[in-house]
């Protein structure tokens, strides 16, 4: 398990206990009937329903503006959906209060297309920020204030993504690929049960993109972390997922096992 691998000897255990999955719930994420519109733009999401099973890798594909990113954000209520329900690790978060949301979000590592690192602080501090969901407060604000245990855990996460030697480098001095790997290390610091990645390789060159996707593959296969990612690269979606969802004009139009699909099958979803 990721928790076991990332917990060095002597590290401080998280104060907030991890959520236990609801008995009989086979899904880490289940969304039903999500609807969202922005101003005059009609129905970005019109009743989106899908689920992501435990330890499953699911790719969400679709053309620009299809509603992929909005669906991911609505699933974590980073954007409030107008209708629909979300079950995260068996908990209904549709009407959850902020403190409840924070507790559940701490279990999900969100990786963004533009990595969204805090620019003027070190890679190590950025990774330490990943622990804020479990233990907020001064200790988690900077590597200067963090406890030895927290720093050790953050270093283990950076080591996991191959950037331990860049720990003290400022985030705005890292390359695109390095930044994305630091963002993944930040997500790992959360000891997540699930990683949600919104076009994680869209702004990277092919080599860096491949490295990042390989890292996701390792995390899902070796450490049992559930993965939901969006992509414009059909072949990448096929190679790195167990199941593919296609979204078009705010509706899920395909939900199929990746092994029975080909690139040709998916091409027309970008029409």
């Amino acid at each position: 398990m990721a928790q076991a691998l990332l917990q060095p000897a002597g590290a401080i255990a998280p104060a907030v206990p991890t959520l236990q999955p609801a008995t009989g719930s086979p899904c880490d994420l289940k969304v039903e009937g999500l609807c969202k519109s922005f101003g005059r733009e009609k129905n970005v999401l019109s009743g989106v329903s899908f689920s992501v099973g435990r330890r499953e890798a699911v790719a969400l594909i679709g053309s620009n503006g299809a509603g992929k990113s909005t669906a991911l954000r609505c699933a974590l209520r980073l954007i409030e959906p107008e209708a629909g329900s979300v079950l995260l690790f068996g908990e209904d978060i549709s009407a959850a209060r902020q403190y409840q949301l924070r507790r559940v979000r701490a279990e999900v590592g969100f990786v963004f297309q533009k990595h969204n690192l805090v620019p003027r602080v070190s890679a190590l501090t950025n990774v330490i920020h990943g622990n804020l969901g479990r233990n907020g407060g001064l200790r988690g604000w900077s590597q200067l204030l963090a406890s030895a245990g927290l720093r050790e855990r953050a270093m283990a996460c950076l080591e996991r993504v191959g950037l331990a030697d860049h720990a003290m480098k400022r985030a705005d001095q890292l390359s695109g690929g390095q930044s994305q790997r630091v963002a993944i290390a930040r997500a790992l610091m959360q000891q997540p049960r699930m990683i949600v990645a919104d076009e994680p390789v869209a702004s990277l060159d092919p080599v860096a993109g491949q490295e990042v996707m390989d890292l996701f593959h390792q995390l899902t296969r070796e450490e049992g972390i559930t993965l939901l990612f969006t992509s414009h690269n059909v072949q990448q979606a096929l190679d790195y997922s167990d199941r593919i969802l296609a979204i078009r004009q705010g509706e899920v139009v395909l939900d199929e096992d990746s092994r029975v699909l080909s690139a040709a099958d998916l091409g027309h979803h970008y029409g």
């Binding site: 980073l78 507790r103 969901g133 988690g140 590597q143």
Partner: protein, 266 residues
């Protein structure tokens, strides 16, 4: 060939004429007079000739007053910066959740900053002289309030302008609002905070000279006394000392800005 200028419509033409009339009216109200300016030339020359060379008789006492002026400026600025940060957080749009409770707090914070900014520091000095008596403490408080108005506004605006991505990432990781502000928003706005703070110190140094004129400590009172007693040579010494102090603070501010903004990571 197109016309060089578009011919204005009647409404625009009337507006232009009204604007010019308004400017002329303002100059008249300000008592602007070329003849007074020309006739004042000899008096200015007379002042300069009587003020030169500067008198060095009271240099030790004046140096002490100058140091006090700078101390007032520095202490007032630091107090102002520290107090303006929480106020700016409350007054920054989109930083705090919009609820029934937070909305009036946001409005109150903005109004308070506007009040501190719009009332001149000299007026604050007069109020604090009444409150805490003559001396540098009144000046320090006046500078602190003025700095809150200045920094509060710019701190709030710079926090509103930072890229939202890092905040969204920390929110998605389950971080609380205060953690998100101090981990994502404040570091991103830090270059602007540093620049604003150093400008505030420069501004406070200039202000602290004037505040002495109303009894709020520093070298200003020495200047007023020298002018009232027609001791222009002493007045010239004081003016030159103020010039050197303000220049030094500005130069150091510029140097500190460039050094800190290059800065190391946390």
């Amino acid at each position: 060939m197109p016309d060089r200028f578009e011919r204005p419509g009647v409404l625009h033409f009337t507006a232009y004429v009204a604007l010019i009339a308004f400017v002329i009216w303002s100059f008249q109200g300000a008592g602007f007079s070329f003849s007074a300016l020309v006739s004042g030339g000899p008096a200015l020359t007379d002042f300069l000739s009587r003020a030169w060379p500067p008198s060095l008789d009271r240099l030790p006492q004046l140096s002490k007053a100058l140091v006090e002026t700078f101390q007032m400026a520095l202490a007032g600025t630091i107090i102002g910066i520290v107090l303006s940060l929480p106020l700016a957080i409350l007054a920054a749009k989109g930083l705090t959740r919009q609820t029934m409770v937070s909305r009036p707090i946001y409005t109150a914070a903005r109004l308070l900053i506007a009040l501190f900014r719009t009332v001149p520091d000299l007026v604050w000095a007069l109020i604090f002289v009444i409150a805490v008596g003559l001396g540098p403490f009144a000046g320090t408080l006046a500078i602190a309030v003025d700095t809150i108005g200045f920094c509060g506004r710019f701190f709030a605006e710079s926090m509103e302008d930072v890229e939202k991505g890092p905040s969204e990432a920390l929110t998605a990781a389950g971080a609380g609002r205060l953690d998100t502000i101090f981990c994502a928003v404040v570091p991103a706005a830090m270059p602007s905070f540093i620049t604003t703070s150093l400008f505030a110190l420069e501004k406070a140094t200039r202000s602290s000279v004037v505040l002495g004129l109303v009894g709020a400590g520093g070298i200003g009172i020495e200047l007023k006394v020298a002018m009232d007693f027609f001791d222009y040579q002493l007045a010239m010494t004081i003016i030159l000392m103020i010039f050197v102090l303000v220049l030094c603070v500005e130069r150091l501010g510029t140097l500190a800005r460039s050094r800190i903004l290059e800065g190391s990571s946390q």
